[in-house]
Amino acid sequence: MKIKSQKDFWSGLMFIVTGVAFAWGALSYSFGNSARPGPAYFPFGLGILLAVLGAAVLFGALTIETDDGDPIGKWAWKPLFIIVLSLIGFGVVLPKLGLLISLPLLVFVVSTAGDEFHWKDALLNAAILTGLSYVVFVKGLSLTLPVWPTFMTAAS
């Protein structure tokens, strides 16, 4: 069997897997009955419905002819990895090192995700964005954000 649309093939598969997973997960909760529906009632129905529609998408991907096979194309691994990892890094580092250290780090690392990277521009951008965030979020909106590293605040 030949896949006629790569995009739809994988979307269909994604919908089936998620639908089945949610329906299967619902089995551990109480169903109740239709007069007194329990917590599993709605998600189970939705999960099955999603799996059915996913199967329809999958079926379409295998039968309906497309011009170019609807390829998914190249994955942008570099920006994907850099952005996801720098977000995780920011989440880990922020409570310990505070905004004034973690934010410039985030900007600098994230900037490397693009094709054009100039370290001078990235440094400048890091300085501007950190300053702006400090003024807007910490001073202006007085959001509770750790500003300084914990070892400095603990000492004082």
Binding site: S34, V57, I72
Partner: protein
């Protein structure tokens, strides 16, 4: 008379200094993101949601509304000047607007877009003020069964009118509804799909999903594409005022666009995008004067009509959100979320319980539109400068504001990690050609839908026919079914595909 009293109350609220400032701020920010390609109103409003904790409800909503319609103005500027529509709803504006700019008539195109939008915005505001109260009356007659059916219509309507595969769009709604099931069941108190993670028992924040998918996911896909080289007509913008002949051509087009946009905006899934496409088609079919410039080569009607329509549609799409609490598109879904954050339960009771907010918001839209004309026409030079900001400065800024927003949601880094997860999910959706907006709608409506379904079944003692025996509910469900059937018909299907061809 009541209408005038209500509007007077609204203008009283909107004309306070704070509210004018927030309307202005929203309009400026909206224009800014409309001009900057790669940053849309959904991601921006999501970014700002955490910071509205510090504001009162009325200024907060006024500002968010300003961002939404400001983006419509800004989007048309880039469409005309560089052939890159800043917003999806300005796609058709680029067709004739850019051609006008190439012929040195950028000024006239920008003026037609700006003045047309202002006229449409004024009419749209009046329509909201006139039709919101009767619709609210109707909404009070709704029981759980009707609400459930209404949400079905809303969700189906949101996808049949959109572009792309219908089955995939409905699947995305279901996926959104399912993600909304990750919470603690309101009726029995059982935590669902939480894997014993305490943060998940409160449910995933819709801000987290919006930022992850629309903010980070967008950035990754933008960076994955080769950089574009654009031709900017910055030096040719002079002669802003259109000629008398332009007024004669554009005037009727603006009227037609406003009418069409106002109607389509109210429909679920309509809003600004569909309105502008429909208006362009209408203008093409309408006979102009004999020696007019052909469409696609810089006809001013092709700019004025769709621009009026998308602004009218943007205004009237507030109607279902304000009267029924049901968002017709992703931006309105975020507005519903913003109201919930501020402790206001969206729905028909908002008009009576928070009249200041309700009428103040409506009045502020008119003020905002007026400010936008002033901001956009004389100050066009400033916005053009912004077009030259390279993306390598822009995307780290988006990442920074989203990350801080995510952290401050609950003062917890868990939301940052979730955001990173949804960045991957968002990129996968992009790669697989799955439109993420229906997912967000489903996610917002999911818990409401479940509650109404279960309450309806409880009231009918488990009888599923309740949805078909109650006339209003039955009517709504039949309407939803009809929409699917009609779109599936081969003749309409081809037309629909044709209509969205211009988009690519």
């Amino acid at each position: 008379m009541e209408l005038l009293n209500n509007l007077a109350l609204g203008f009283g609220v909107a004309f306070t200094l704070t509210n004018i400032l927030y309307a202005f701020g929203g309009a400026v920010l909206g224009t800014l993101i409309g001009v900057l390609p790669g940053l849309g109103p959904v991601a921006t409003i999501a970014m700002l949601l955490p910071s509205i904790y510090a504001l009162d409800a009325t200024p907060a909503l006024i500002m968010l509304a300003g961002i939404y319609y400001g983006a419509q103005y800004g989007g048309s500027t880039t469409a005309i000047l560089i052939n890159v529509p800043g917003e999806a709803s300005s796609v058709v504006t680029a067709l004739d607007g850019y051609q006008m700019a190439r012929k040195g008539r950028a000024g006239a195109a920008l003026a037609a877009a700006g003045l047309g939008s202002f006229f449409a915005g004024t009419v749209g505001t009046m329509i909201i003020a006139a039709f919101a109260p009767p619709l609210t009356e109707l909404a009070f007659k709704f029981g759980p069964a009707e609400y459930f059916s209404l949400m079905v219509v809303g969700l189906i309507g949101a996808v049949v009118l959109a572009s792309g595969s219908l089955v995939k769009a409905i699947s995305m709604i279901l996926l959104g509804l399912l993600l909304g099931q990750i919470n603690t069941d309101v009726i029995s108190g059982v935590p669902r799909y939480s894997f014993d993670i305490p943060e998940l028992t409160d449910g995933i924040g819709f801000v987290t999903i919006a930022m992850g998918v629309f903010g980070f996911g967008e950035i990754i896909s933008n960076l994955g594409r080769p950089a574009e080289h654009r031709e900017v007509f910055t030096k040719h913008v002079k002669g802003l005022w259109p000629t008398a002949q332009d007024f004669k051509d554009a005037g009727p087009a603006v009227l037609r666009g406003t009418m069409l946009g106002s109607i389509l905006g109210v429909l679920p899934g309509g809003g600004a995008l569909l309105a502008s496409f429909a208006a362009y088609t209408l203008e093409k079919k309408t006979r102009g004067r004999a020696d007019q410039v052909p469409f696609g080569q810089g006809n001013i009607r092709g700019v004025a009509g769709p621009e009026a329509a998308n602004n009218a549609g943007a205004q009237t799409s507030f109607i279902p959100m304000l009267t029924l609490g049901i968002p017709p598109n992703a931006v309105m879904a975020l507005m519903v979320g913003a109201m919930t954050i501020k402790g206001i339960q969206p729905g028909p009771q908002v008009m009576t319980s928070n009249p200041d907010l309700f009428w103040g918001l409506i009045a502020s839209m008119w003020i905002g539109n007026l400010m936008l004309v002033i901001l956009n026409l004389p100050l066009i030079g400033i916005w053009i400068k912004l077009l030259t900001v390279p993306y390598r400065f822009l995307f780290p800024a988006i990442v920074v504001f989203c990350s801080i927003g995510l952290y401050t949601l609950n003062n917890n880094n868990f939301d940052v990690f979730m955001g990173a997860g949804f960045a991957i999910v968002g990129y996968i959706f992009y790669k697989l050609g799955c439109e993420p907006a229906p997912l967000l709608l489903g996610f917002i409506l999911g818990p409401m839908m479940e509650e109404n379904l279960r309450r309806a079944l409880l009231l009918s003692r488990g009888d599923w026919t309740t949805f078909m025996t109650r006339p209003l509910s039955a009517g709504l469900l039949v309407a939803a079914l009809l929409m699917i059937v009609v779109v599936m018909l081969p003749a309409i299907r081809n037309k629909r595909e044709e209509a969205f061809q211009d988009e690519d």
